[in-house]
């Protein structure tokens, strides 16, 4: 039954790691803007090519 000391210590330690991760994310401003990243990830990274100039621009629906 004394293994319970060890088990509790472990579980608290793991939970503490998550808490620290959250506090770190909060401090670095992850939750300041919840909207723009949703648009940002839909924008393509393009390879700028001179040949592309002549092609038809893609129509976004």
């Amino acid at each position: 039954m004394s293994s319970i000391y060890f088990l509790i210590a472990c579980s608290i330690f793991v939970a503490l790691l998550f808490l620290i991760a959250f506090l770190w994310a909060q401090k670095s401003g992850q939750n300041d803007d919840l909207y723009t990243p949703s648009i940002r990830m839909l924008i393509d990274d393009e390879v700028i090519d001179d040949e592309k100039e002549g092609q038809e621009p893609k129509q976004s629906s």
Partner: protein, 794 residues
Amino acid sequence: MATLVKPVCYHCGEDTFTGSYQHQDKVFCCSGCLNVYQILSASNLGSYYKLNNHPGKTQVSATQFSYLEEPEIKARLIDYTDSSKTIITFYIPAIHCSSCIWLLEHLHTLHKGILENRVDFLKKQVYIQFDHQQLSLKELAELLQSIGYEPLISLQDVVKEQKKVKDRLPSKIAVAGFCFGNSMLLSFPSYFGLSEGIDADFSYFFGLLNLLFCFPVVFYSGRDFFNRAYKDLRNGILSLDFPLALGIAVLFLRTFVECAFAIGDGFADSLTGLVFFLLTGRYVQQKTYYHLSFERDYRSFFPVSVKVVDANGKETDVPLEKLEEGHRIRIKNQEIIPADAILLQGEAMVDFSFVTGESIPVHKTLGEIIYAGGRQLGGFLELEVVKPVSQSYLTQLWNNEAFKKHSSTRIKTFVSKVSHYFSIILLTIAFGALLYWIPQDWQRGVAAFTAVLIIACPCALALSTPFTMSAALSIFDKNKFYLKNTEVVEQLAAIDTIVFDKTGTITLTENDGVSFKGNLNHELKSVIYSLCKNSSHPLSRKISDYLQDSQEIPLENYIEEAGKGLQATYKQQKIKLGSRLYIAGQKQNDTTHSEVHVSVENDYAGYFTIKQKLRAGLKELLSDLNRTYDAHLLSGDASHDAAKLSPYFKNSNVLHFKQSPQDKLNFINNLLQMGNKVMMIGDGLNDSGALKQSNAGVAITDHINNFTPGSDAILDAASLHLLPRFMQFSKSAVKVIHFSFIISSTYNVFGLAYAVTGNLSPLFAAILMPLSTVTIISFTSLATHYAAKKLNLL
């Protein structure tokens, strides 16, 4: 497929009138749009146009950014600077779509000096890190301007204000939640009575662990409560934070004692739970406030209109929220300048007491910028708007210290009254229980003492008032009744007397009601027209509308005397316009219309008769109001309207005529001294003193510029018929708060009954407190909405 399609600008989608702006077989509406396209395609940023059709906005402005070279201004705007980089956050109102985000995050391709850029779409801000050796702040702003995303720079930046409030609430909630969850888990066995059979060692271990979780909650998450309670105590106020802080402190001490000496289970779960729920409530409150003020900034606006002059000299009334940069506006005597603007014409003597507290008017020269919030004293001005109206800035002015009422006229809010008594009663009961038990069993006495302090929860007051008031305020806003702040709701609920101003409030001038008795030659018409153009008095406006085809000529030495008349000098002659008393020294006979007399160099020239009609719906409004309130009427006119008006009021004694602005003020004061709670409704022009003096001053507006910071509320004339319902709703809102307090008292009495016997179990406390909090919050939100629905305000 040869359909005739009107060519639209490739950049902004507006119609193109000429085909003269073309480039690479794309048409543009103007050189501005063409320029932006050329810049973008030259830097291979053509994808801007792929993401949306016509993502650009029409180019209009030509703002100068040379002031960005001043070091003091730069210092106030930038966030950070060192030898290698400078960081600034710009507010760019033109951000409206994904193309904007795309373009602004590719700024670094337009100039090597831009190191990093990030957009916050909802706040319409761009965060830019740039190398100031390669690119100055002014050049950066000009670059943004050239691609059509001009930054809006204000020294009164709301953007900066928002940044200052960093109380780290989410982090505190996270810590409290972490500790709460863990300590709940550890306390579970004792809830179910399983801790009886466990080793004493384990119980001691669990107890210590629980105690350990209390430390971060009390000293980190709960720190604000202690700070605020201490500050309030130092100022001699017993606010709500005092019992909260006391409860937390007592919980902590009792847990410490019980766990360290192994005499009990401690109250760690209640402590952590309490702090967690209180902080969550505060967070929700903050978000609601932000959302409401955001709505106020961008959705609802003061129902105020400004006269805008177009290129041909034609005037139109433009509502405040539609006022744009580049508009030429006309500001008359006593009107407030609603936005930062450059003076183009007129003799500007501006009273900035609303902004700076300095009541000596400032003389401004042509070409100088006059900042928003100043009040013109003198003839009319023509200005060009350089910065759109900032609603939040005007609201800030409105809530300025200068307009806080004398504390005697403010009905003390319910919360401040109750929180004062709550703490006292609480301590009385606690000491009472202690003294009762001490002769018999001192341990039980201490247990009872601490239990009383723990269980008594003023959560109702802490949470219900802000939620209810904010909900009430937003409902009022939707109905065009714009309150200064949440306290006004309670003031409205306590009103028992309503005083109406006559001109402009109850009466309107009829459209064809103006006629002149005397000889009006062309020159005199122009002089009178120009004279009236300077004044915002309803009669002057009516006369200038009547004479609107006249020519405007410059006048000098314009003076307006409230309640009397106007005068100015033209060709060395003094022109006067006003009441009969002012011009001819005789009191006006009782007639059925208003008279405005004219004299030139003391030679009498004739007079205008202006017929006035009563506002529509007045009968229903007043009969409704007369049932519950005492209604009075104050008027600066002579009593010629008495017969027409007395059927609307209870009797003719409540009609008072020939009141000067000072008389109106004295009348309000008399009513206040007799113990009445007075609401004054006026148009904010000659009654601003009375508005300020009354318990609730309402400025009614017909879409003219009469923003009176001394008032407590602005009511759109179109919503005047809703006034009885507004008063009823404010009473309902206060009733909701009272009722939620009753609910909280019930919980408290119930809990205290257990507490005084010294039998308080941690489980009981842990359930009771969150339960009461949740009940009250849901009750207040639902009840407020229900009340609004019943009155058809929602």
